[in-house]
């Protein structure tokens, strides 16, 4: 197989659910941006919903998709006998999935830019930094999903972990933001606000800590018996 075929194959293997989710969200965002006023939504509310879709919903989709990307292959026993390690197959699939979600999220942020909605979101950055609004939490949750799925060997446990972290961060905003250590890890620093001047640090910390999460998953992914015994979906 040529490398391009491999990538195309992985694109199909990510599954229709993971592929259709992000564009569906962007479509909803575009519709809300165009018809929000007609529906009776105040401008500030529309801007909040649009930015929320980008910073909250997009990372949730990415994290859940990453958490359920492991071990879904048929005849995984055969794949494990190939010279190509299963680890690189999974990482290739994740890269395809994350790239596709990133493309959609960039389109989503274009919707906000075109409509001039960023100006109505308090605490929103300007320029290229707006891409960090979705990039940092999405990467972090995807890394967490990968680690959880490699550690538990079960998509159910991994998706539950991602879901739980997401909901907890939504519910316990004040508690998590009151301590500097957890404030830097807070996923929704744009929408829920943070201490002035902390936003960039928060994004950098999220991006940097995603790397050790993936690194922790790396050795776990190299042990085929974990993949074979796991629950599929």
């Amino acid at each position: 197989m040529k490398p391009l075929d491999l990538w195309a194959h992985e694109l199909r293997r990510t599954g229709p659910a993971a592929l259709a989710g992000p564009p569906a969200l962007v479509l909803l965002m575009a519709l809300l941006s165009m018809f929000g006023a007609w529906l009776g939504s105040r401008e500030s509310t529309t801007a909040f919903m649009l930015a929320g879709a980008l910073e909250m919903a997009m990372p949730l989709i990415t994290g859940m998709a990453a958490a359920s990307s492991l071990g879904r292959d048929h005849a995984v026993e055969l794949q494990l006998t190939l010279p190509v390690s299963y680890r690189s197959t999974v990482l290739r699939r994740l890269a395809v999935m994350a790239g596709w979600t990133g493309l959609c999220a960039a389109a989503g942020s274009a919707v906000l830019t075109l409509g001039g909605w960023w100006a109505l979101v308090p605490g929103a950055p300007s320029g290229l930094a707006v891409q960090l609004v979705w990039l940092a939490p999405a990467l972090w949750l995807a890394a967490l999903g990968l680690l959880a799925s490699a550690a538990f060997g079960s998509a159910v446990a991994a998706t539950t972990t991602v879901a739980f972290v997401w909901i907890t961060e939504q519910v316990a905003t004040e508690t998590l933001q009151s301590v500097p250590a957890s404030r830097l890890f807070y996923l929704f620093a744009t929408m829920r606000g943070t201490v002035p001047g902390d936003w960039t640090a928060n994004r950098v910390v999220l991006l940097c800590t995603a790397v050790p999460l993936i690194a922790a998953a790396w050795p776990l992914l190299g042990r085929p018996e974990r993949i074979l015994g796991g629950e599929k979906e």
Binding site: G15, P16, A17, A18, G21, T45, M49, A57, L60, I61, M64, A65, S68, F152, S154, A155, V156, A157, T159, T160, T161, A163, F164, W166, I167, T168, Q170, V171, A172, T175, L176, E231, K232, E233
Partner: protein, 265 residues
């Protein structure tokens, strides 16, 4: 039905992953709600009233743990199909609706066990630290009225939901539903939260157990949409909420059965 119930219950309760995930999430729950979970009170009264403390305990548990509960139930019904044994099961003489009911009851009961353990465990700890044994009686009264109806409905929803769509989008939507329909303040956007259709609300606490907050009635929110679904709390409304939850549960199970019957033919 009983055989299915027993089998599904044991299968779920012996799943190590369930206990691991519940354990981790319980630790997180205690950590993020620490001062309130220690005193079992959101105010400065110290949580010395056992009735209010048990209601607060139920409320805290129902904020985060239902997410785990729903996600863990979501793969149970479609499992038979994925393993390719659904058709064999259908060919057995067992009544299909009985099997579905047994599966529902068994799975939900097993997945609710950790929630019950967390709740009653906290009640025992409270009874010992505060020296008030009546807290145990209150906990026995609060759990079936304030927690179980919501769990019954969520269990049916999570069991049947993945029939309509793959488990991945279902879980994403379930999380979004839980946040939108149960946790956000009612005046933030049109939402089901704090209505009699929300799986986690305080109608039982305010209506049945007479909890009060600064003399305000629980019910309609100022400037919130869908206030028609938020009657002022009273014992009748609390019972109505339980009835709505049970009715929704039965409706979902019946629709699931009809769906299965249609795909059989």
């Amino acid at each position: 039905m009983i055989a299915t119930l027993r089998y599904e219950f044991l299968m779920q309760i012996r799943r190590p992953i369930m206990w691991i995930v519940y354990g981790l999430t319980y630790i997180t729950l205690v950590a993020v709600f620490w001062p309130a979970y220690r005193t079992l009170s959101f105010t400065d009264d110290g949580g010395h009233d056992p009735k209010l403390a048990m209601l607060t305990s139920a409320k805290l548990i129902m904020v985060l743990l239902p997410i785990v509960y729903g996600c863990l139930i979501a793969d149970r019904l479609i499992r038979d199909r994925r393993l390719g044994v659904a058709t064999i099961m259908d060919a057995s003489p067992a009544d299909p609706f009985g099997r579905l009911t047994g599966k529902y009851l068994g799975v939900c009961a097993a997945t609710a066990v950790p929630i019950a353990l967390a709740f009653f465990g906290r009640a025992v700890v409270y009874a010992m630290t505060e020296g008030k044994v009546e807290a145990l009686a209150w906990s026995v009264a609060v759990f079936p009225t304030a927690v179980l109806p919501g769990l019954a409905f969520l269990g049916a929803l999570a069991l049947a939901g993945p029939l309509l769509m793959p488990p991945l989008p279902f879980r994403v939507l379930f999380v979004a539903y839980w946040f939108w329909g149960n946790l956000i303040p009612a005046d933030m956007m049109p939402t089901l939260s704090h209505t009699i259709f929300a799986a986690s609300n305080e109608y039982v606490a305010y209506g049945l157990f007479g909890q009060t907050f600064e003399g305000l009635a629980y019910g309609p929110w100022p400037d919130a949409a869908l206030n028609a679904l938020r009657p002022v709390a009273s014992p009748a409304v609390a019972v109505l909420w339980m009835g709505v939850m049970v009715a929704l549960t039965i409706a979902i199970l019946l629709i699931t059965r009809l769906h299965a019957a249609r795909s059989e033919s």
